[in-house]
Symmetry: C2
DNA sequence: GCGCGATACTTCGTCTGTCAAGGTATCTCA
DNA sequence: TGAGATACCTTGACAGACGAAGTATCGCGC
């Protein structure tokens, strides 16, 4: 919806891992949760979501299993692995660092002495 | 150098515009300024920089002219245009929004009532 | 009983930004 | 003479995002 898609690029995997920290979930639900959490300011596109799932599973960060839905559309649930939890923690740290970097790079303070040390 | 490159992806143009808000500059200088400002935690790659310049100029956000260096390597200076200033202002707003979105999406607060309003 | 919308997953092909690698040219200093 | 800094540019490949299209089931209204 918003123009923000470009800026959220690269965070897809972390966002998914964040959703899986609390409980196992599945694509459609994560998709809706993200939209709801951002009040429809942002939404994952399906193709983006599912390709991220594939990457995360290939890397051992999440594991999948079919829900036992004998009625309704079948759901593929994902669970975060210990490796995934570790990766998520690192992602949070990376994000904090990136945030600070970008903030400082977008600041247009005067060119004089930045007197950093 | 750092792992942050993925996360800064998409901000290249804004970073360049920020550098040009204060004064005209040229590729090599912007590159060094970015590295210095982040204490070498992040640096623009040359190819990335110059392709961003091309895009920004094509879009009318910056204008270029050759420095009058009769000695030394010639420099192509870039100046931000009014359109570029406007675009930069919007970028700052977008970044603030994206930052808030990502922060909220990476938070793994309990699933109960988010009691947003 | 039929169509429609919601749920739910998947694949294909394209686009865009990044970047490794390589190239050109000038100046300074040893 | 040549190494290193300054300064710019191009090519080709890659990875992530995503539009579009397809499959399948369920519940509801008519």
């Amino acid at each position: 919806m918003s123009l923000t898609s470009d800026l959220v690029r690269g965070h897809t995997e972390s966002i998914i891992l964040a959703r899986l920290m609390g409980k196992d979930s599945y694509g459609y639900e994560i998709n809706k949760a993200v939209a709801a959490k951002t009040r429809n300011q942002y939404e994952l596109k399906e193709a983006t979501l599912y390709s991220a799932f594939r990457r995360l599973e290939a890397g051992g960060y999440i594991a999948s299993y079919w829900g036992d839905a004998e009625q309704g559309a079948r759901r593929r649930y994902y669970a975060i692995t210990p490796l995934g939890r570790q990766c998520f923690a690192e992602s949070l740290a990376d994000w904090a660092q990136a945030k600070a970097l970008i903030d400082s790079l977008l600041a247009q303070e005067d060119p004089q002495d930045p007197h950093l040390q």
